[in-house]
């Protein structure tokens, strides 16, 4: 298992932008070629956005078709607040839901249109 410090990798304690998320996504893709399990260390992080998560871990889960259980088979997350961990789990669940729509050949647009009523 390899440990990656996200703040060191990104070079900032503000994990907010999609650009930074894409950087993490690309790095993780490379690491996954050689390591089945990765520990993501968030030590030193201050701010975390769903945009950053969507473009990194969320996109990874969409590509791999991982739900939260599968995600934790490959990733261990340390040094993170409960709230930020909850945000990551929410984003991954959401990504998996969207992956499922596409996997079932449901157009998200049609899905939402048919389920939207007030």
């Amino acid at each position: 298992m390899i440990t990656i410090n996200v703040v060191k990798l990104i070079g900032s304690s503000s994990l907010l932008s999609s650009n930074k998320g894409i950087t993490l996504y690309e790095e993780l893709n490379n690491f996954l070629k050689e390591h089945r399990q990765i520990t993501l260390d968030f030590f030193g992080s201050e701010y975390l956005s769903t945009i950053f998560i969507n473009h990194s871990l969320g996109q990874l889960c969409v590509d791999m078709g991982w739900d939260i259980t599968k995600f934790y088979e490959h990733f261990n997350i340390i040094n993170i607040s409960e709230e930020h961990q909850a945000s990551i789990e929410l984003a991954i669940s959401n990504a998996y839901h969207r992956y499922n729509l596409i996997a079932q050949k449901l157009d998200p647009k049609e899905y939402y249109s048919s389920t939207c009523s007030y």
């Binding site: 900032s12 503000s14 907010l16 932008s17 999609s18 650009n19 930074k20 201050e46 701010y47 975390l48 956005s49 769903t50 945009i51 969507n54 473009h55 969320g58 996109q59 889960c61 969409v62 945000s87 929410l90 984003a91 959401n94 990504a95 839901h97 969207r98 596409i102 157009d107 998200p108 647009k109 939402y112 249109s113 939207c116 007030y118």
Partner: protein
């Protein structure tokens, strides 16, 4: 036109009239006819004047000195007069217009801006509140920048109200508008306020092929925890709350192109500690 702008839906409806007024204005000066403006009005006017001053060179003026003073304090760039600064609203409490022009603007700079604008007014440093404010406001700006399809980015303007212990800040774009965009996406004949509400629900997004749809939901959760308030206005729709915790939907009287997100962040010692 109303002289005082509040945060009721009727005020937003009245503000929307200025879009048409500026669009059809053939004069060099548009009279705003207002005595009292709020930050969201200034941010909205900044967007409108950016949009239309590519075509014409209209400037803004009010016969009411108080409005001109306020616009000057907010560093509104299209004011046709030089006014003295207001004593009623000390400059240190004003967050002048800030324009965000690019999706993916440097987040480190955004953090510094929020710290210097809002966080400095928190009576006691509270890391968790600071964190949530920065993260929520980032979600709002990025949401507008990525969805609005506007050439003029997003304008923000704010003010600290020390007696009421809250900070009010607005993020405005004059792009396609959240209501119109969701309406086209869903192809559904609901009210614009329903479309705004839809965009705020967990997981809902008009982006089809990527993980998305949490930003506005996270923002709404924060406002509830903070006992703050928000109003989102777009098209003919208003969705938000004022003092009550109940979210409300209204139709506004005039079509408002683009989107206004107005936020009241509670900085009160007794309520701001987030668990």
């Amino acid at each position: 036109m109303i002289p005082y702008f509040g945060i009721k839906y009727t005020s937003f409806g009245q503000l929307a009239r200025y879009e048409k007024a500026l669009r059809i204005c053939n004069n060099d000066i548009l009279d705003i006819k207002a005595k009292f403006l709020r930050p969201y009005c200034v941010a909205y006017l900044d967007q409108l004047f950016q949009k239309y001053n590519g075509i014409k060179s209209t400037q803004l003026n009010s016969k009411h000195t108080s409005a001109n003073r306020y616009l000057q304090q907010c560093e509104f760039k299209y004011l046709n007069t030089i006014a003295k600064l207001s004593k009623r609203f000390p400059q240190k409490y004003i967050a002048p217009i800030k324009r965000f022009s690019g999706y993916n603007e440097l987040d480190d700079q955004f953090v510094v801006w929020v710290q210097n604008t809002i966080i400095k007014h928190i009576p006691k440093v509270n890391g968790k509140l600071e964190q949530k404010i920065i993260e929520s406001l980032w979600e709002i700006t990025q949401n507008s920048l990525s969805h609005s399809e506007s050439n003029f980015g997003v304008s923000a303007c704010g003010q600290y109200y020390p007696e009421k212990k809250y900070f009010e800040i607005a993020f405005v774009d004059c792009g396609c508008g959240i209501a119109t965009k969701v309406g086209k996406y869903l192809n559904n004949k609901l009210d614009d306020s329903d479309f705004i509400e839809w965009a705020m629900l967990e997981g809902n997004s008009t982006l089809n092929k990527q993980a998305a749809g949490l930003g506005l939901h996270i923002f709404r959760q924060f406002i509830k925890l903070n006992s703050g308030a928000f109003q989102i206005v777009s098209g003919n729709g208003y969705f938000g709350n004022m003092e009550s915790s109940q979210d409300e939907k209204f139709s506004i009287s005039n079509f408002l192109p683009g989107t206004i997100v107005n936020i009241r962040i509670n900085l009160d010692d007794n309520t701001y500690i987030l668990k």
